[in-house]
Amino acid sequence: MPDSPATRAAAATPVRVARKIRGLSDRAIAWIFVAPTIFLLLAINIFPLIWTINLSFTNFKANRIGREVKNVGLRNYERILTDSDIWLNMQATAHFLFWTIFFQVLIGFTLAYLINKKFKGNDLWTTIIVLPMMLSPAVVGNFWKFLYQPQIGLFNYIVAFFTGKDPSSFEMLGSVNLAPWSIVIVDTWMWTPFVMLICLAGLRSIPDYIYEAAEVDRASKLRQFFTITIPMVLPFLMLAVLFRGIENFKMFDLVVQLTGGGPGSTTELTSINLKREAFEKWRTGYASAYAIILFVTVFGLASIYVKALNKVKER
């Protein structure tokens, strides 16, 4: 009999265990190995989800354990979906999502395209560019808060230098018009390197011979870019958009550090609002319904997106 890994594993199995599993089908053995993971998944993910759905139909408050829990039917869902303040939070989240992804893809792809060109100091620049994403969001939030400070902040002075305005004449974090953009700028600064790295992987996966063949066919650089580079990098770009979309939909720490959701509720993203409902107001039933609505939204959008991504990959 050849000395294969299977034979060696069989020889190493204790006799008692071997006797017990003898006669089990491959499928049964596979289930035995997978069962602990499935159990953990059920316990940690599925059970809480079902429990949350259950709570979303009640008036339960986690800080008032002794209080009578009443079934309120769809009232929590109705209140959330008809609450104009929550729709404003949704709008703020949509604004944040759209513009961060737009700028990160635009700048990230451009940087990746430039870094992909061989030049002196290429590695050093790559390292410098990826530094922001290595920092903690809490640290980034705090130091950008200083940068945005109207009286001593570097950001205001730089803007003032180029526009001739008084540095203390505008407040990035305190102005209703500027605050939504201030969080977009910081998130873009922090996470563009991530998109750049994914794009760089896409660009480096394009074989040189395709460009060489295009050169032979006398295709212009612009045509090569639109007919080779973009289509071949597109699946990577779409993946980056998916990652950033999911991450930014649940954005919390960075924005809390920067604006705390203010001024007023201008930058109060849904995740911040949800946290307030669940762990500051302790409206657990209401917050559960809120979480389910957000979950269904993200899950639905992500499913549609993944289908589109698969179609692009198949082309």
């Binding site: 008036n59 986690a62 800080n63 008032r64 354990i65 002794g66 303040d85 400070q149 109207p150 009286q151 203390s168 004449s169 407040e171 974090l173 305190g174 209703v176 809390v256 604006t259 705390g260 959701g261 203010g262 001024p263 007023g264 509720s265 201008t266 307030r276 762990f279 500051e280 107001k281 302790w282 409206r283």
Partner: protein, 439 residues
């Protein structure tokens, strides 16, 4: 043989006594906010350690996270704190949710009388339901929102002359809210010693309780009431009254015309920083910080003075301060009660005041020398005579966060009118009380 027996009994008795004494000595943890008075309490508690044999540990949480951290601890039945100096607004939840030990029997047994403490503090820090003789805390730290200003700037001839020319009256501590605003507007953007300074630092913080504490300092002097009839939860017409609207518009004007640029999210720390860095002429903050401000080498001493929140239609100050409670989940309640008994002692209360804590004990407050014992002592007494507190209901967090949102939306984000903000607040609060089954 007899000697041997005697020796054995003695050794046994000594061993038993030693075990008993070890069992009584506890390691108590007291939880509070991280601020100046907490350091004074550490110093004060050394005396308790030496007297009782118990060891005191402290868990001080920065103010912005204090409520979140402590309420989570209580809601989860945590055993971190044996004693908690919790905010006055927590008393309803602490009592109704069973977080705090009811102290009536203990007070009776130890002859601790609530009449020995200032009435306003007993009402605010100890009782639930409000005003009933059901005590869940001992008044630990009296406090109110007050004001301090640059006395040296107010005394300068050039500034006094400029103020007289601008307003037609003498520059002095304001006697009304409108005078306060006028002084702040006078200083706004003024050059003093080659530096641009601003009027005043006020509370505008969004995340915890800041802007509510600031705005109520304007609402109360305008005669703000939470209910038309106390205990009825009938808020329409009280919370959104014409006086309340006027007060809210006043605070917004104050924010827009008399505060430094960028003060969109400022609370205690920012107020202190603005004053100590010489950026503002006046600032609002809790009396608890005043000893530290007076001792500051750069802006304290003869450069600073204090005044009580000015009246408008009536006198009114926002209540701060806390009572000390025994946490119901503690395994060391007996030792914790010992601490409260010790703390209630008039001599300890006198030392508490001398170290920088604000005693609420009548023996301290009614002492003839109290008013002159510190430059802010008289103002403190005056403020405590007209304090008003926020809701202390078990659902206070929901009520507070609703107010934070409505006020910040109107004042800082400039959305809607004062009337709309207060009308929406009435709607929010009505919904909370309906959920609570009180409406």
């Amino acid at each position: 043989m007899k000697n041997l027996k005697l020796a054995s009994v003695s050794v046994f008795a000594m061993a038993a006594a030693s075990v008993a004494s070890t069992a009584q000595a506890e390691d108590l943890t007291l939880c509070w906010a991280a601020w100046d008075p907490a350091n004074a309490l550490v110093e004060l508690s050394k005396e308790f350690e030496s007297q009782s044999g118990h060891k005191m540990s402290f868990e001080f949480i920065p103010w912005p996270n204090f409520a979140d951290r402590m309420l989570n601890e209580l809601n989860s039945g945590g055993k971190l704190c044996d004693l908690l100096i919790g905010d006055s607004q927590w008393i309803g939840g602490g009592a109704e949710n069973g977080h705090y030990v009811k102290l009536n029997d203990f007070f009776d047994k130890e002859n601790i009388s609530m009449s020995d403490f200032a009435d306003a503090t007993v009402y605010a820090y100890s009782t639930w339901p409000k005003g009933t003789p059901n005590y869940y805390a001992l008044p630990a730290m009296g406090d109110a929102n007050g004001w301090f200003y640059r006395k040296d700037w107010f005394a300068r001839d050039d500034i006094k002359a400029a103020f007289k020319e601008a307003t037609g009256r003498d520059l002095a501590e304001p006697k009304s809210q409108k005078e306060l605003l006028e002084i702040a507007q006078f200083f706004q953007g003024r050059e003093i010693d080659g530096k641009t300074v601003y009027g005043a630092s006020i509370f505008t913080e969004r995340g915890s309780e800041g802007i509510t504490m600031g705005v109520t300092s304007a609402l109360y002097p305008w005669g703000f009431k939470y209910e038309n009839t106390p205990g009825s939860y009938d808020m329409d017409g009280a919370v959104n009254s014409a006086e309340a609207v006027e007060a809210l518009e006043f605070y917004k004007e104050f924010y827009e015309t008399a505060t430094p640029p960028g003060y969109t999210n400022s609370y205690m720390g920012e107020s202190l920083d603005a004053f100590k860095s010489g950026q503002v002429a006046m600032a609002m903050n809790w009396f608890a910080f005043f000893p530290g401000l007076y001792a500051d080498p750069n802006t304290g001493g003869d450069k600073i003075d204090f005044f009580v929140n000015p009246p408008q239609n009536n006198a009114g100050s926002t209540l701060g301060g806390q009572g000390i409670s025994v946490v119901a989940y503690s395994d060391k309640q007996d030792a914790a009660l010992e601490y409260i008994k010790w703390f209630a002692n008039p001599e300890v209360q006198a030392k508490w005041w001398s170290l920088g804590g604000y005693s609420a004990h009548n023996s301290v407050l009614n002492d003839p020398g109290f008013k002159d014992s510190a430059p802010f002592a008289g103002d403190f007494l005056e403020a405590m005579g007209s304090v008003q507190d926020f809701w202390q209901e078990p659902a206070y967090a929901e009520l507070l966060l609703a107010m934070q949102k409505r006020l910040h939306d109107y004042i800082v984000a400039d959305q809607g009118t004062a009337q709309e903000a207060l009308d929406k607040l009435v709607e929010d609060w009505t919904e909370v009380f309906e959920d609570e089954g009180k409406l």
